[in-house]
Amino acid sequence: MSQGRSVSSAPAPANPARPGALQPTHIGKIEKARDPRTALSRLLPYLEPFRSSLRWVLLLVISYTFLGLVGPYLMGVAIDHLLHSGQMAGLARLALGMLAVYVLYNLLQAVAGRQMADISQRALKQLRSDLFTRVQRLPISFFGEGSTGDLLSRLTNDVEAINLAISQNVTTLVASLLSMLGIIVAMFLLDRWLALASLFVVPIMFWFTQFVARYTRKGFRDLQRDLGQLNGVMEEAISGQKTAQAFRRKRAAIEAFQRHNQQVFQAGVYANSYALLLMPITSVLGNLFVIVLAGLGGWLALSGLVSVGIIATFISYAQQFVNPLRQLANLYNSIQSAIAGAERIFAIFDVPAEQDEATLALTELSGAVSFEHVRFGYAADAIVLKDLSFEAKPGQVVALVGPTGAGKTTIINLLTRFYECESGSIRIDGRDIRSIRKPELRKNLGLVLQDVFLFSGSVLENIRYGRLEASDEEVMAAAKLAEADGFIRLLPEGYRTQLSERAGNLSQGQRQLLAIARAILADPAILILDEATSSVDTRTEARIQRALLALMKGRTSFVIAHRLSTIADADQILVIDHGLLAEHGKHAELLAQRGVYHRLYTSQFKGEAI
């Protein structure tokens, strides 16, 4: 796994220069610089459903921000009161007033925080949901090109980046802006000159933030990308670890990992060095603010222009002024990283989904299937099917035979519309399948694939995947037909046994039996068996054969198999060779022709003196 990946990732900076001509939908290629506003503006609609709650939060924020200003004001009054009168009665009232203001202030803050936690998490949930739905709508061809790990990284790391920005509180943003505004107004009301003098910190702050942002934006973009790549490397290494171990290639896997890990480290240092610098520097700037106020205020007080109480209030305001500034700076950074994450998420949204303009719904299929001059290749220069025509009558069992790589599985890929044929047409009951809605089409095709995929869940749930509403009894009946019941009952918890991704507890053949049970349960109009029993021993297969024959009765079936004994009874055998239909007919006829089929059949014992 060190190979191609290293080649594609090493000259990373060169990538954007070479617009994705080769792989138009490759996710790695989408990462070009985008307008940050687009990503943000696409995030905003996720807050739309919470409009009324947000209004409520805004009200709370405004209220507590206002209260936050009243506190120091009262304190200034209290100090001046102390200085001039020294009367305790008035002081008690002031102190009580302050206390009331502070309690209310914190109470409102807590309520707003709680509310925001709900809003933000629900908005993020929606984003994840949409991303998942999007991923599911992507065409099959997409999944070969991108790496699973990178895709996973978008759902976790990138959404997490947005989460960190939001959970650092959108309320902080509003509260900070408001309190800054409020403080400025309050300062101007108190003393115009002091206020003017203190405002000089603001431009410095903005300039500095802008300066840093230029680096952080790029930094986070690189970091999220590198993280995605590292994720890809790790995912492939872990899911392929058994093979790597058998070939003593762990070291290579480790080296590839280390290289990408180091890249993430460097990108992380770069992005965070700039991003995290903002916070301490803002603190220092805040101090500077206080110092200027104290110095200048002292000077003015000496000249008798302001009272000491006002200076105290000003310094208190200054402290409060710095906090929101610091938080804003911090938030600004998280937003940079959130934008980088959002861009990667929306890049998936922008990959064209599986196209389906068809409107036709299927009812009562008789199951006539015809291929008419079908031409198809996965790449323009590698045509798999050149000009294929055949017809399957309703209820026929059609066997597809031919050397490996002749295009048998491709025929299935076209029939299911995983891919669309380049020219020619495929018809079911005389209707072009391109006019039939994909879900309708696929619902009528029962597919048993070569590679059996099992989900983590119980045996029962995995079989029920064929028909979700099936009862436990129906599931078991299907398993019995597929000859799977016997071994399932021997599992530690029978049908309730949890299967894992690697399903170490099941043999390949047993997994195939589960897949067959799944198809039996689905009860489709057209059945497709793609090497469905290749890992099942022949005696078990012979027993399943009976079940399959019963299953095939009355429905059109396509069978791909290398064991010719499996297909000798087919109504029609199609021999595919070099992307063309080489021969077709029944077993006996084809044998008599002494052509390709005859050669394939007899080779089963070629060279053996039986």
Binding site: Q241, N261, F265, A294, E531
Partner: protein
């Protein structure tokens, strides 16, 4: 906490930098604290005493302090970022290396989705813990202690009234930390689940689409997503109480200062400047308190993740080199012996998959294994390269127990083509020379020819440079198997294991492969798991496995005569019509 202590060793190589970062941080805090003090003397001695020069001097001094703190802050920032990122990198690496030591048995129990969450999200949480601790870890407590000390020196009696308040805030922080940690652990568990659903969906997308299960999968994801969302919101709702609770403490302190200070002022024991300074100290405490809430959040989630990382890091590989393991030296085709081998995946003999299996494969022999689905064929061959260890009995190569040699030398002698032929993303050439990256072009082509892969590879537009997608998704099953075979043949192993590795290859091609194998010049012991009689016809010895036991062994002709099971298998493939003739004496061979 124990797992955090364990994880501290990842910070060890960076202790000097960490220490320096903390020293700089402390300095920064001291500088920060000096400002209110200076302001106090500016008001008391400058403004109130009408000392214009003092006002200027103190102002300039404060500017100097400010400038110095810029440098200190930048230094601390650089160090803390580096240490944080380094620890994250090392942690990821340790975790990845650990996972690499997992044997098949360990891997069977792990979901890729879960391991991925640990490698990303959990290391991220620990990284934040490190980084934030170095940035504000000492700041908050120091600022608080420093403020307290200064308050005491300003007015001991006033300070005393603040003491319970400080204790209260410290208590609050600990309370939140302890309460949040398990909550964060639940969050991560929900994330595991969600990630697994996504990972399975991407890996099984063809199935999902074929069965039109998108709505069902969306529902499944929604459940996981909702659970994660609920748990995250729960933590955050809880955390939302923390900053207000803490600031309320400080605010209450402010009120107390004004009240109590007012009383003292009335008695003339406190200056106005002192009261102003006092309120300043309290406000200075407020900032670190807000930081403290952040710190507590990050610590809680960091500790939760550290525990989860520790779980993976403390997994004991089921199979590892024995102490004093020797290097296996296999010069020629080895003799493979199974002696009374019993094996159960969970170690419980009652669930044994293989029972008392004994057989011998002599040097250069081809031994085929035939049997019903689930009979234990694949399991048997997996014991040879020690993917799993026998439960009892032993497996020997040239008389040496496979458990007594190093994994590396054992695997070097063995070439294996697994049932699931997994290819890696990259190109065809690199996939073939996967086991020996330095192999020459001739070797690659020779291996591909023997595996009957050369022709179809050459038909592809880019030949051996053609792209292979993740898991080899752009190749047909038969093509994948042949590439996997070429990959094993390239190694010219002394012992070749084919685990039903030509099931998706047509019979004609398979015959060509067999011919190529027999034509190899070097002797090779071969163990072949198969379903097809045609695959095993020429084997020197055929083992018929049934229910984990060897029920018959011998060559084709012998078994036809002696084994009912074998005859049934034969009949199931060729029809019983062939049988009578074969059973006539003298007809065989």
């Amino acid at each position: 906490m124990a797992s955090v202590v364990k994880l501290l060793r990842f910070a060890k190589p960076y202790w000097l930098r960490s220490l320096l970062a903390l020293v700089l941080l402390t300095l920064l805090v001291v500088l920060d604290l000096s400002i209110p003090r200076l302001i106090q003397s500016l008001i008391d001695h400058g403004v109130l005493a009408h000392d214009r020069r003092l006002v200027i001097r103190i102002s300039l001094l404060m500017l100097g302090v400010s400038a110095l703190s810029v440098f200190v802050a930048v230094g601390n920032n650089d160090l803390s970022v580096r240490v944080g990122e380094s620890v994250a990198r090392d942690l990821r690496e340790a975790l990845f290396l650990k996972i690499q030591t997992f044997s098949y048995g360990n891997l069977d129990q792990q979901k890729t989705g879960q391991l991925m969450v640990r490698l990303t999200s959990d290391t991220g949480a620990v990284q934040r813990l490190m980084q934030i601790t170095l940035r504000i870890g000492t700041r908050a407590p120091l600022l608080m202690v420093g403020s307290l000390l200064l308050m005491i020196s300003t007015s001991p009696t006033l300070a005393l009234t603040m003491l319970p308040l400080l204790l209260l805030t410290s208590g609050l922080i600990v309370f939140f930390l302890v309460k949040q940690e398990p909550m964060f652990r639940f969050v991560q568990q929900r994330l595991d689940r969600m990630n697994t659903v996504l990972q399975e969906n991407v890996a099984g997308i063809r199935l999902v689409k074929a069965f039109v299960r998108e709505p069902f999968e969306e529902q499944r994801f929604d459940i996981a997503n909702q659970a994660y969302c609920d748990q995250s919101a729960k933590v955050m709702r809880f955390a939302a109480f923390m900053p207000p609770a803490l600031t309320l403490c400080v605010n209450a302190g402010l009120v107390a200062v004004i009240w109590a200070g007012g009383l003292e002022r009335a008695r003339g024991t406190l200056s106005i400047g002192q009261i102003v300074a006092f309120t300043n100290y309290l406000l200075t405490t407020m900032t670190p308190l807000v930081m403290m809430t952040m710190l507590s959040n990050i610590w809680a989630s960091g500790i939760a993740s550290a525990k989860r990382l520790d779980e993976v890091l403390s997994v004991v590989p089921e199979v590892s080199d024995a102490k004093g393991a020797r290097t296996l030296l296999v010069s020629a085709a080895p003799r493979l012996v199974f002696e009374n081998v019993t094996f159960a995946y969970d170690g419980a003999v009652s669930d044994a998959v293989l029972k008392q299996v004994s057989f011998v494969a002599d040097p250069g022999q081809t031994v085929a294994i035939l049997g019903a689905t689930g009979a234990g064929k694949s399991t048997l061959v997996k014991l040879i390269p020690r993917f799993y260890d026998v439960t009892s009995g032993r497996v020997t190569l040239d008389g040496v127990d496979v458990r007594s040699v190093t994994e590396d030398s054992l695997l070097a002698a063995i070439g294996i083509v697994p049932q699931e032929s997994l290819l890696f993303s990259g190109n065809v050439r690199d996939n073939i020379r996967y086991g020996q990256p330095e192999a020459s072009e001739e070797q690659v082509v020779a291996a591909a020819r023997a595996a009957q892969a050369h022709d179809f590879v050459m038909k592809m537009s880019a030949g051996y440079d053609s792209r292979v997608e993740q898991r080899g998704a752009n190749f047909s099953g038969g093509q994948r198997q042949r590439l996997a075979l070429a990959r094993a043949l390239l190694l010219r192993p002394k012992l070749l294991i084919l685990d039903d590795s030509t099931s998706a290859v047509d019979v004609e091609t398979e015959t060509l492969i067999q011919n190529a194998l027999t034509a190899q010049s070097e002797p090779q012991t071969r163990i072949v798991v198969a379903q097809r009689i045609s695959t095993v016809l020429r084997a020197d010895k055929i083992l018929v496995l049934d229910g984990g036991r060897i029920v018959a062994q011998g060559n084709h002709a012998e078994l036809l005569r002696s084994s009912q099971v074998y005859r049934e298998i034969f009949a199931s493939q060729l029809g019983s019509a062939h049988l009578p003739a074969l059973l006539e004496p003298g007809a065989a061979l």
